[in-house]
């Protein structure tokens, strides 16, 4: 790989960009706050009353965008959370009195109930092997459940009538305008800083390739759960404010049509842009209110049509399309620097075997893919797993890295039994897995991808963007030798196939694994790339004491670097020995060629 000359545009450091962005956001926030303070003096009463609601909706739209636009969780449930917050205030004040303790209890209780509902929904929807559609389904159902529960509450909840005219805060309409404005600005600013931080890139990584995140040891279900709970709390607070201002609450506040409207606003404003959804929500809600008298149906019709067009033709939404009109010049690429980690000792004396597989079987109904596979591998071994297609090699790798995968048998990594643990837990035992086709994050840059891989060792900041990615020696070697070190700011989507393979290998090595599972690491690589990878693997085993289990079809490559070969055929191990033993074996040649081997030259 050619070493690149200095780029025409110098690369900016993330921390510099981060600081600039945060300063800009602060400036805009101050301006927005000033507008919120001055607004009531300039606007008429009707506009003020509408905008209070629009601002609150804008804040909710920001949370929906973080969930959907950034993390890929399509949730219709914000309506239910909004309703919970509103009814928390309405019910408490109606049943008891408008006193400080009651109101404070409602202020805490509403978001708490919403958070609990979000937690339940997350538990149901973010488990392993649950399709992404399910979370959308569950959040829809949550909204319906909320509305029906209000209906079934009879006099207590006011049922279809809702609750109205309860004692509420003695704040003027102008005051509420400022409260809602501040709320919107605060949520948007905080949201912006959050999504632009290092952790924010993790959200995109989860959306792009959740499986890869889990194999980097990240508990993605927990991240998504916390996001959903966070959005529930913010939305419930918005509901609380709305009830306080409006003095009327009805079951319609929580119905799923409101949930879908939020999604529509986010889609139109531009998912994944944060500011777009906030502006779209405020504008569309405001304009809808003004037009509700004159052309309500035509306006809704137009919104519906534009929404369809946007989804079908412009999935990015209108925001970026508008913004592109204003964009000037090229933006300077931004990438972190690499920094080497001091060499870690070759951990583990090899007292415990690196991989222990005992009687592992994998069945799909009556189809036996793996039958009673047993072997052990230790530190310092480079074991190649060979066999014809369909022998079960990739399945075996899956069974070693995901506790849910095998049908029976026991697997232990570094002496730790993996039981039924999820991949992110297995990885924590010191396991790294490289997939057959490059399994990377297309939307992130090389540096960001490496940082995600390092996230277990180096926590991602919720606010800042760090300047350095510290890599262990092995990963550094791969990155430098394959030329990735000069492409740190390049988006992974634009890398060549070979570069993506190298990146994935580097990411896996960045996790400092003791055991490495590689599925056809040289597939699609050139000869020189292949020998480079071979050198790296051998060095890892000899100098760093890793245990590597490698699936390969290139028998030359296998012969060059392996210390041991396991032959798999129709789900069972037929041979397990040194390179000589296996390559000279008749049995193996029969399996591959279908006939006994003529004496080799």
């Amino acid at each position: 790989m050619p070493d690149s000359a200095a780029l025409a545009c110098p690369v900016r450091l993330p921390s510099q960009r981060g600081r600039t962005e945060r300063r800009l956001i602060l400036v805009f926030s101050v301006i927005a706050l000033a507008l919120a303070a001055a607004g009531p003096l300039l606007l008429d009463t009707y506009s003020i009353s509408i905008l209070i609601r629009s601002f609150l909706y804008g804040a909710i739209a920001v949370t929906v965008d973080i969930l959907w636009g950034f993390t890929g969780i399509l949730s219709f449930g914000q309506a239910a959370f909004f309703g919970i917050g509103a009814y928390a205030l309405g019910l408490s004040v109606t049943q008891y009195d408008f006193t400080a303790p009651i109101v404070t209890a409602a202020l805490i209780g509403g978001p708490l109930v919403a958070a609990a509902a979000a937690g339940l929904v997350a538990w149901l929807g973010f488990g392993p092997k649950v399709t992404p559609l399910y979370i959308s389904v569950i959040t829809l159902v949550l909204s319906v459940i909320f509305v029906q529960m209000i209906y079934s509450g009879g006099d207590f909840t006011g049922s279809s009538s809702g609750l109205s005219n309860f004692d509420t805060f003695d704040i003027s309409m102008e005051g509420w305008f400022r409260v809602a404005g501040v709320f919107l600005v605060a949520v948007t600013a905080a949201g912006w800083i959050f999504v632009r931080s290092d952790f924010g890139r993790l959200l995109v990584a989860i959306r792009e390739n959740e499986q890869r995140c889990r194999y980097c040891g990240i508990n993605t279900a927990r991240v998504k759960t916390l996001l959903l709970i966070g959005s529930a709390i913010i939305t419930a607070l918005a509901g609380f404010a709305y009830a306080g201002y409006n003095d009327v609450i009805a079951p319609d506040l929580g119905n799923f049509q409101f949930g879908t409207q939020l999604v529509i606003w986010v889609a139109l404003g531009g998912r994944g842009t944060l500011i777009g959804p906030a502006v779209a929500a405020v504008l569309i809600d405001f304009i809808s209110a003004w037009l509700s008298g004159s052309l309500p149906f035509i306006w809704q019709l137009i919104i519906g049509l534009v929404f369809i067009v946007v989804i079908v033709l412009l999935p990015q939404g209108l925001g970026p399309a508008v913004a592109n009109l204003f964009r000037r010049g090229r933006t300077r690429p931004v990438a972190a620097r690499l920094a080497p980690l001091p060499d870690a000792d070759a951990a583990g004396s090899g007292a415990l075997p690196a991989i222990q597989v005992e009687s592992v079987s994998r069945n799909y109904g009556s189809l036996h893919v793996l039958q009673d596979v047993t072997f052990t591998a230790g530190a310092g071994e480079l074991v190649s797993l060979v066999g014809p297609n369909g022998a079960g090699k990739t399945t075996l790798i899956r069974c070693l890295s995901d506790g849910q995968e095998r049908s029976s048998g026991r697997v232990a990594i570094e002496g730790n039994p993996i039981g039924r643990l999820a991949p992110e837990a297995c990885v924590r035992f010191g396991l790294g897995r490289k997939f057959q086709t490059p399994n990377v994050f297309d939307a992130l840059t090389v540096a960001e991808s490496l940082r995600i891989a390092r996230s277990r060792q180096e926590r991602l900041s919720f606010v800042r963007t760090a300047d350095e990615v510290r890599l262990p020696a092995a990963a550094m070697r791969v990155v430098q030798a394959t030329g990735l070190s000069s492409q740190l700011g390049t988006t992974v989507k634009h890398l060549s196939h070979g570069a993506k393979q190298a990146l994935e290998l580097a990411m896996v090595l960045a996790m400092e694994p003791r055991v490495l599972l590689l599925d056809e690491p040289t597939a699609g690589l050139t000869k020189s790339e292949r020998s480079l990878i071979g050198e790296v693997l051998v060095e890892l085993v000899r100098a760093h004491g890793l245990c590597i289990l490698l699936i390969e079809h290139d028998l030359e490559f296998v012969r060059e670097i392996s210390s041991r070969i396991i032959v798999l055929h129709q789900g069972s191990i037929v041979m397990d020995g040194t390179v000589e033993e296996v390559t000279n074996s008749e049995l193996v040649h029969t399996i591959y060629a279908g006939e006994p081997h003529a004496v080799a030259a």
């Binding site: 488990g127 399910y134 159902v141 209906y151 799923f256 149906f297 035509i298 019709l301 369809i308």
Partner: protein, 278 residues
């Protein structure tokens, strides 16, 4: 007790008729058509138009079916086809479509609630009591419809190609099956069925622009639980519909309205395959 049983069977029949169209679209195209509620509404308004023109109320059925077929064909080409690879976006786009359909209906017919004439009136004596004749007819309609659909799927060439596409679209295409045509036909038929269902249920309830929404959610959950099998759908309608009737009768109708959705959601979590056999 007999009345309760009749309530359960007739409710299950109505649910089956409403959800059948959604199921075949889900099976062949692998997307959930959120415009299903809109097509249901169109069927309802077709029945209203038939009433206003003073035609025989039974004429509402073919009118609705035709309207659904034509509109469905139109929709498939323009909206659904580009979104094949993006199922979540397909849900959103079809929901947007539903909004457009509702607004157009409102512009044309006004937003008020209307009522249509029932093709049959009255009740017949059954098991010592009287029961609504129309509801019993719905039972017959569901059985006939189910039989026709299963017959087409199992017994005709169209059904065979449809089943092939349901099982493995890529393989079907490599074998020469025009999957695009199958998907087009399925979506049109599914939409036609939705409109037909809308015309069938309106004599029992009422016609307004938003009538499709509660049916959509229930049908959606039933389809998710049934996978791609019509028989599973029948089973799901009986079990979940039965639960709805029982809970409505013995507890409260409001909780009953929730039962299908909640039970389906729980069932899907425990057994993602739902009622379909493994």
């Amino acid at each position: 007790m007999a009345i309760l049983l009749l309530d359960i069977i007739t409710t299950a029949s109505i649910l089956f008729v409403v959800a059948a169209g959604l199921l075949i679209v889900f099976g062949v195209l692998k997307i959930i058509n959120f415009a299903h509620g809109g097509f249901l509404t169109i069927g309802g308004y077709a029945a209203l138009v038939t009433t206003q023109l003073h035609w025989n109320p039974w004429m509402a059925l073919p009118v609705a079916l035709l309207a659904g077929l034509v509109l469905g064909a139109f929709v498939e080409r323009l909206v659904v086809r580009p979104l094949y690879a993006r199922p979540l976006d397909a849900i959103l786009a079809t929901w947007g479509l539903s909004i457009v359909m509702v607004q157009m209906i409102t512009i044309a017919f006004g937003r008020g609630t209307n009522f249509v004439e029932s093709p049959v009136q009255g009740a017949i004596p059954i098991a010592g009591d009287t029961y609504s004749l129309y509801r019993l007819i719905m039972l017959g309609v569901a059985i006939i419809l189910g039989a026709i659909m299963i017959g087409i799927l199992q017994g005709t060439r169209l059904g065979l190609t449809a089943r092939a596409v349901i099982m493995n679209e890529n393989l079907s295409r490599s074998l020469g099956i025009n999957s695009g045509l199958v998907r087009f036909a399925t979506f049109s038929i599914g939409s036609g069925l939705a409109a037909l269902a809308g015309a069938l249920i309106t004599p029992l309830l009422s016609v307004d622009p938003l009538m499709g929404v509660p049916w959509l959610l229930n049908a959606f959950m039933l389809v998710m639980v049934s996978g791609t099998s019509l028989i599973s759908l029948g089973a799901a309608c009986l079990v979940l519909g039965g639960a709805q009737v029982a809970i409505s009768t013995y507890s409260s109708p409001v909780l009953g309205a929730l039962s299908i959705m909640v039970l389906a959601a729980v069932l899907l979590r425990i057994r993602p395959a739902g009622f379909a056999r493994a």
